[in-house]
């Protein structure tokens, strides 16, 4: 078993990055995720594994440093919170268009605009529907514990390289700031330049006689060729939808009603299940772990066995659209949300299930 520690979610991301063999972190501080950069600067991995840790002059610079590092086949990442991630969208679209692997983290805070520094899930649409321009998807992982904050860094890098596609960890200020037990995975050495050359034939690492020329670009002025790029991207997204769906069902075996929630909301719903069951209601939780690809088929299958759904989000109703599409509006689907940095209480979630779904 790996090393056991009590850590903040943000610290777990930073430690996991070092252990995953990350080559470079480029970031700019913003609450509620500044501990990631602070932790890395305190740990000084550049003196141990050789991992670069750089505070850029802005989020725009960070994401373009990630773009450059990814083009060279390096394992690179950036982290930010909502307004900072908005600034990065142009670069994210370019990385998706150029088909490069990168790990992004958004520790959501309340918006729009500068909003608040308190937790939120209001960037669901931005993460899952393509926050930048063009027809692209990020692969979106939604941790609900500090353990998953650590685990999804390694998983995120694996998936980013498997698909040559940016992966985003979509979390929020509550999980970033809270401490829980975490079992850290054993450190993996950074890849050598030779290993990168072998594993990433597409990387721009210099044209030696044994290599073809690599070109990293998201520009293709011939629409016929650009359509082929789009078709290739779409084929990749279909493969993700077929192979990368992840979800968790809690107390669903005998459930008549379920919550659908991710991240912090999913944790609150677990308490709401205890409260609802104490009142005699058979309630469970369906927790999407990949927000894209959304777990359409498992949710559709579960929906045939239940009477109603309450979607709980710290936003005004974003994931509910995917839930309704998944179940083809075949049963009652209601929403309960708090926003602007307010976290719903387990009690109010249970009351809303009873009033909007069970009793209504």
């Amino acid at each position: 078993m790996g090393e056991l520690r009590l850590m903040k979610g943000n610290e777990a991301i930073a430690e996991a990055a070092i252990r995953a063999g990350c080559d470079g972190y480029f970031g700019y501080p913003i609450t509620p995720q500044s501990e990631i950069l602070e932790y890395l600067m305190a740990e000084k991995p550049y003196e141990k594994t050789g991992m670069v840790v750089l505070q850029a002059e802005s989020e725009v610079a960070s994401i373009n440093m990630v773009y450059g590092g990814a083009g060279a086949g390096k394992m690179v990442m950036t982290t930010s919170s909502s307004p900072g991630v908005s600034l990065m969208q142009e670069g994210i679209s370019y990385i998706a268009g150029a088909e490069l692997p990168a790990l992004l983290v958004n520790i959501n805070r309340g918006g729009p605009g500068l909003g608040t520094i308190q937790p939120s899930q209001a960037d669901y649409w931005q993460s899952t529907k393509g926050g930048g321009h063009g027809d692209y998807h990020l692969l979106v992982l939604a941790p609900a514990s500090v353990q998953e904050m650590s685990d999804f860094v390694k998983l995120g890098f694996d998936l980013a390289f498997k698909y040559r596609n940016p992966v985003i960890i979509h979390s929020d200020g509550a999980i970033g700031q809270m401490m829980e037990k975490v079992v850290l995975f054993d450190p993996i050495p950074r890849r050598t330049d030779d290993e990168i050359k072998k594993q990433c034939p597409w990387a721009t690492v210099g044209k030696t006689p044994d290599r073809k020329r690599s070109i990293i670009t998201s520009l293709e002025l011939d629409p016929g060729k650009q359509e082929q790029v789009n078709l290739r991207l779409q084929a990749k997204y279909r493969k993700m939808e077929a192979e990368e769906v992840r979800y968790e069902e809690i107390a669903c075996d005998d459930a008549e009603y379920i919550f659908v929630a991710f991240g912090t909301s999913a944790r609150i719903c677990q308490k709401s299940i205890e409260l609802a069951r104490a009142k005699g209601y058979k309630v469970g939780l369906f927790r999407p772990i990949t927000l894209y690809p959304f777990p359409v088929n498992p949710l559709r299958e579960l929906s045939t066995k239940i009477k109603g759904i309450l979607v709980v989000e710290m936003n005004a109703g974003q994931m509910i659209e995917d839930v309704k599409l998944a179940v083809s509006c075949s049963l009652k689907v209601e929403h309960y949300g708090r926003f602007g940095g307010i976290i719903p209480t387990p009690e109010e979630v249970t009351e809303n299930l009873i009033s909007k779904v069970i009793g209504g």
Binding site: P32, I117, A174, M179, E180, Q270, K271, S272, P346
Partner: protein, 184 residues
């Protein structure tokens, strides 16, 4: 066993670190734990609070609206959290600076004059450990040996010389805490 605790006071009183030491001690005793702080400008001189959960089972929500125990170190926190203690639950408060005393009859209330005592003993830095000692006397969730390990894990190595002071403060707190009966 699941114990859901809120610790609340002024920023700088050691609220968050008291919670961290308790949580880390729980980890050392192989319990499930969560530590959910207030964060941001609140921590810089305003009110600070942390929700600590220690359990034998997987913890559901780290964010709560009702608590088994509230540990209260200033008036604002008493005003905010007295009503959030579960019926039959427990409230511990330091009377220093309290002008409106707790009044609920359906919970058990204790007072601990930790700020005064820390001043008398000249151990103001470990004031929060006196309070923790009082709590642990009433609810011995973690054994002293694991508190020691929790202190070792929570404090940076350069502060390990302060561990004996911390442990002494915990013992002081155990003797200092006393039942409080609200006025009719």
């Amino acid at each position: 066993m699941t114990e859901e605790i809120i610790i609340a006071g002024f920023g700088g009183q050691g609220v968050l670190s008291m919670g961290k030491i308790l949580a880390y001690s729980g980890v050392m005793q192989n319990k499930e734990v969560s530590w959910m702080p207030s964060y941001g400008p609140e921590m810089r001189g305003g009110t600070a609070n942390v929700t600590v959960i220690i359990s034998d089972e997987r913890i559901s929500s780290p964010i709560l609206n009702a608590y088994d125990t509230a540990i209260i170190l200033n008036q604002q926190s008493l005003d905010k959290f007295e009503s959030k203690v579960k019926p039959g639950g427990m409230l511990i408060f330091d009377p220093n600076g309290i002008t409106r005393l707790p009044a609920r009859k359906d919970i058990t209330i204790y007072s601990i004059a930790a700020a005064d005592e820390a001043g008398k003993l000249g151990i103001l830095k470990v004031f929060n450990m006196i309070v923790l000692g009082g709590f642990l006397k009433l609810k011995p969730l973690v054994a002293p040996e694991f508190i020691h390990k929790g202190l070792e894990k929570s404090l940076p190595a350069r502060h390990h010389k302060l561990i004996p002071d911390n442990e002494k403060a915990i013992e002081v707190g155990k003797d200092l805490i006393q039942p409080f009966t609200p006025a009719d």
